[in-house]
Point group: C2
């Protein structure tokens, strides 16, 4: 059985905010207090991480270049926002009516390099993805171990669209202490037949599970997922970078 439990009433997150301490306090403050366990997974919307890492830009400080001006004119958008998207990208994958799909600095392919204006206080500020989300996850895990003696799995998420499906699902953009992929190739099914092509994106399914437990309009960046302990590892592991399809295997760029 899997349980996904939102942490309530986290304070507004500012640069340098001690998120690990806030998580421990929020768990203790619950009507039925919870103690962090080493087989728990904390799934965290990247906004909480990006805010504490100061990954914001004031659009007033951005001077759009010719490419940004061109795309912004096509799409009736703020050219300064488009410039931040381009600054955060290493490739532009598609520009179409209202859609700007890029490869982020990390290698994720998503809309607008994950640069977002919602849930950010201040009218002209945009929020970027963490510079190194796997590093952010490792840092948070280390801090939790320091505070509590326990090192749960950490997954940092964003909401991504999909090529052929309507709507967004949360996926992992950073993780630590989680095996992002569960590889059943060479394993056997219930009839003793070999499982051929089954590699499960566990970290992404953790992200989706957490988002299902969340109110989108609420301040619930952190979800505790209990019952997924078989995916938690003692070492930090390869991070969500393992989920990025190598360019040479990309059939849809």
């Amino acid at each position: 059985m899997i349980s996904a439990i939102p942490l309530e009433n986290l304070p507004e997150i500012t640069p340098g905010f001690d998120l690990a301490s806030a998580v421990v306090e929020a768990l203790a403050r619950r009507p039925e207090p919870l103690t962090l366990r080493s087989d728990d997974v904390l799934v965290i919307a990247h906004k909480a991480i990006s805010k504490r890492e100061g990954r914001t830009v004031s659009l007033a400080s951005v001077r759009p270049g010719p490419r940004a001006l061109e795309i912004a004119a096509q799409q009736s958008r703020d050219a300064r926002h488009v410039q931040v998207v381009l600054d955060e990208s290493r490739d532009v994958i598609r520009v179409s009516a209202g859609v700007l799909i890029t490869e982020t600095r990390h290698g994720y392919i998503c809309a607008n390099s994950g640069v977002d204006a919602s849930n950010v206080p201040g009218d002209d500020t945009v929020l970027m993805l963490p510079l190194d989300p796997d590093g952010s996850a490792r840092e948070l895990r280390a801090r939790l171990r320091e505070l509590t003696g326990v090192a749960p799995g950490i997954v940092i998420t964003d909401s991504f669209g999909r090529a052929w499906r309507v709507g967004q699902c949360d996926v992992a953009i950073g993780c630590a202490g989680i095996r992002p992929l569960e590889d059943w190739r060479g394993g056997f099914d219930a009839h003793g037949r070999e499982l051929h092509a089954t590699v499960i994106a566990v970290a992404d399914q953790l992200a989706a599970t957490a988002d299902l437990a969340r109110r989108k309009d609420g301040q619930q960046p952190v979800i505790l997922v209990r019952g997924a302990g078989r995916h938690v590892s003692a070492d930090d592991g390869p991070g969500a970078a393992e989920l990025i399809r190598a360019r040479e295997h990309d059939l849809f760029r």
Copy 2:
């Protein structure tokens, strides 16, 4: 809070099997028996549905045509399996080393039209997706209502790969009594700012949550998800067809 609970020890599913009765019995047989509620969601691996609908083909009965022979030769695969994949498709999206990505008869884009050999008894039998998974979901829901007076949400799933991410996630290919998309456009975030591009693929997140609760090598096709009641609807709703991106909006075909 979301809970995802696998139902244990369902019998082997054969054509015509009364899955609704088996689900009710499995819930009652638990050490802590559960009673189905109208705000529950039952998430079901399509294999359970396809088997009860007899959606199997014996490869011995399949005569591969020239296209199937050509692809099979390129990919060192069984040409009869490839023929079934082509029969189940309305378009071939990509053929590459070991990968055959098609658009299914329903409009889903995935590997091998969802035709699969694992978890099927009998060496030369392959299993296809249900002919009308939304219809299957509606039928199961009606039968549960008949048996119990309660009509939970139903989601039928398969494991799909993703264009730019390694590994598979479960997604919805059929549903009833679930609003597949939660549309927050025009809504407001915690800072009172309008949410612009937020449409959440709830049915897919339910699918992913259920798969996380499952052992891949076990016989756990049915997962009860509790706590997602705000997505359950009295009417059957639009089905998972609502999740298919219209061809004119497809940038990656």
